[in-house]
């Protein structure tokens, strides 16, 4: 084995890059340059065969300019295999002694579970978690309800400042987006209605379709989903951050019940705002319906207004608005519940926020399906 310029190409390309050169013959080789983490792979490749050959080999490291800990580890490995290191510089000796003296154990391997067992385990965990989640939700909703009712009975424990702040944040600030969404959803339903009903010559019924679906379902549903994503998540994040900074514990130590000061004002605020937002969404949806009628059906806004009382009545409005406070109660409860569940770390705030939004939207849809069946049976 003769001179092996391990890293010649790169060396000529970039002079600032460290290089290592192996030179010499037979059992005696010499290293020169820098044996550092960036050149380790090359040095190892050049010495691979040699280090396995026979005995009484020696490696001269006197011309090694720099050596770092991975390089020293490599030299220690060679020494353990019976290679004699000669000409070790004084400044490298301390490093070699330190690294060679370390009691190194390989990193333990993480036990891997076969795929099919992982699926079984996950299914079991999922079922177990779902049961506990359901129990948690029921317990928390019950506690929140009882605290809210007791706050109603003892109005001095209500916190009007906190409630009004949350009303502003969850309600007034949400008005533009909710109004816009309601118009959009009316436009979407209107277009689909016209397209589907025109072949039967029934495109005029699009007005009925838009008005009824907006008032009964879409207005409240869009609002609830928007509020769950906007305010439910904000509740989780706010309370979660308080939880990570131990503010919730500070409240408890002061003898103040977090349910009373953190949960009840949010629940009450959302129960106030969601019906109002729903009403706005209903009005905006009907305005969207008027626009659709004008552009697609040539029905003027005045005609639209005179037709409206004939296609919808108070019960349609009532059905939508009735659901709003119930949705609001659940969205606020789920948001607060997950906020209080945050444990210490900042990443759990993100995790709980995601869960809160998913769970509250899921619950809203489940409740909505339940109400649809209920009102159908009641004939409302």
């Amino acid at each position: 084995m003769t001179s092996v310029p391990a890293n010649k190409q790169q060396a000529s390309a970039d002079p600032s890059r460290p290089t290592v050169v192996v030179s010499g013959d037979g059992d005696k080789l010499a290293l020169a340059g820098a044996l550092v983490i960036f050149t380790l792979a090359e040095a190892r490749n050049s010495l691979k065969k040699w280090s396995k050959q026979g005995s009484s080999r020696s490696l001269d490291v006197a011309r090694l300019d720099s050596l770092d800990t991975p390089g020293a580890l490599f030299l220690c490995g060679l020494r353990d295999k019976g290679v004699e290191l000669t000409g070790v510089r004084a400044e490298h000796r301390a490093l070699l002694d330190l690294v060679c003296g370390l009691d190194l154990k390989p990193l333990p391997k993480v036990e891997s579970v076969p795929r099919w067992r992982q699926i079984v385990i996950q299914l079991g965990k999922g079922a177990h978690d779902a049961r506990h989640e359901a129990l948690d939700v029921i317990t928390f909703v019950g506690r929140a309800a009882s605290w809210t009712v007791s706050a109603m009975i003892h109005p001095h424990s209500l916190r009007p400042a906190s409630i009004s702040r949350h009303v502003a944040e969850t309600g007034i600030h949400a008005l533009p987006i909710i109004g816009l969404m309601a118009v959009m959803i009316a436009v979407v339903i209107g277009y689909q209605g016209v397209a589907q009903l025109r072949p039967y010559g029934g495109e005029d019924f699009t007005i009925n379709l838009v008005a009824v679906s907006v008032l009964r379902e879409m207005g409240v549903l869009i609002t609830a989903i928007m509020v769950a994503g906007r305010s439910g998540s904000a509740f989780t994040a706010e309370i979660g951050v308080m939880q990570t900074r131990e503010e919730v514990d500070a409240l408890k130590v002061m003898g103040i019940e977090p349910m009373q000061v953190l949960v009840v004002p949010r629940v009450i605020a959302l129960v106030i705002t969601l019906p109002l937002l729903t009403f706005v969404a209903d009005i905006m949806g009907l305005i969207g319906g008027a626009a659709i009628s004008q552009f697609l059906l040539d029905v003027s806004p005045t005609q639209y207004l005179t037709r409206l009382p004939r296609v919808v009545d108070g019960s349609d409005l009532f059905v939508g608005l009735f659901k709003a406070p119930i949705f609001a109660f659940f969205i606020a409860c789920i948001g607060c519940m997950h906020g209080l569940r945050v444990s210490g770390s900042a990443e759990s705030v993100g995790r709980e926020t995601t869960r809160a939004v998913v769970k509250s939207i899921f619950l809203v849809l489940v409740l909505d399906a339940f109400f649809s069946i209920l009102f159908e049976k009641l004939g409302v």
């Binding site: 960036f38 792979a41 991975p70 370390l102 993480v110």
Partner: protein, 263 residues
């Protein structure tokens, strides 16, 4: 040999005329600092004196409003990512370990990005860094959330050392630690400085750390910096520096220094 001694006295990092402003508030006013190769230097200062901003400026995370930071004579902004990673290691105050990676994966991340080493070799090096930082090998597969405060600092040390940096910045390495763990970290810093020759810059309030392991102390006061040995700073007549080095806590720390220096 002459070239080596010259290299040793040359500053590895120098900050010149650093000005940092936030709105109208001037935090640093044309301060200059030279860090000598192989030394342990402590940066001290009151809360809000801009220690952390200075640290961020020195490692190139913060662009100062004026002035420049030179690492080995090159401005820090002009140094490429891989070279910078090989030159500078930073231990952040909270450790800043990536929570989605195990400790060993945390240590291997810079190696994976900047070297062509095979995985088994990276693991071997990671195991060595863990041992250097005084952690058992089985902590390598643990996730940062499962570590105690002292172990987080040690794991973060191991990661900061991943590419064998020439200069190591430590932000409050002993804060939030019990005295035993803190002394362990002090000993670790000194050992790394002795055996690996790493230049260490410590930002700290911990007087014991400042007195026992720092060769020089840079005190940030009045938007400027005063650098000297602890003994000379103790004789300073600047009121804040005097208070800092002669308060009741300083007395205790001085005792620790005398014990550790054996006199």
């Amino acid at each position: 040999m002459t070239t080596r001694t010259k290299a040793q006295t040359e500053p590895i990092l120098s900050a010149r005329g650093i000005v940092n402003r936030f709105g109208k508030q001037v935090v640093h006013d044309k301060l200059s600092l030279e860090i000598v190769r192989g030394e342990i230097i402590g940066i001290a200062g009151g809360s809000g004196s801009g220690k952390s901003v200075l640290l961020k400026t020195l490692v190139g995370l913060h662009q100062p409003d004026a002035g420049e930071v030179l690492l080995n004579g090159k401005t820090i902004q002009s140094i490429g990512a891989a070279e910078k990673a090989a030159q500078i290691g930073v231990l952040f105050q909270q450790g800043a370990l990536f929570s989605s990676l195990s400790v060993a994966q945390n240590i291997m991340l810079p190696m994976r990005e900047h070297t062509a080493l095979p995985a088994n070799e990276q693991e071997q090096i990671a195991a060595m860094k863990l041992a250097l930082a005084g952690l058992p090998a089985d902590s390598g597969i643990k996730f940062p959330s499962a570590l105690s405060g002292g172990m987080v600092k040690r794991a973060a040390f191991a990661r900061a050392l991943a590419l064998d940096p020439k200069i190591l910045f430590l932000d409050e390495p002993t804060s939030d630690l019990d005295p035993i763990a803190a002394s362990g970290i002090d000993a670790l810093i000194r050992q790394l400085n002795d055996s690996l020759g790493i230049t260490v810059v410590i930002v700290t309030h911990d007087l014991t750390t400042l007195f026992t392991i720092c060769g020089r102390i840079a005190v940030l006061v009045d938007r400027k910096i005063t650098v000297d040995t602890a003994d000379k700073l103790m004789k300073s007549d600047h009121p804040w520096i005097h208070e800092f080095f002669h308060g009741p806590r300083a007395e205790g720390a001085m005792k620790a220094r005398n014990i550790s220096h054996g006199n």
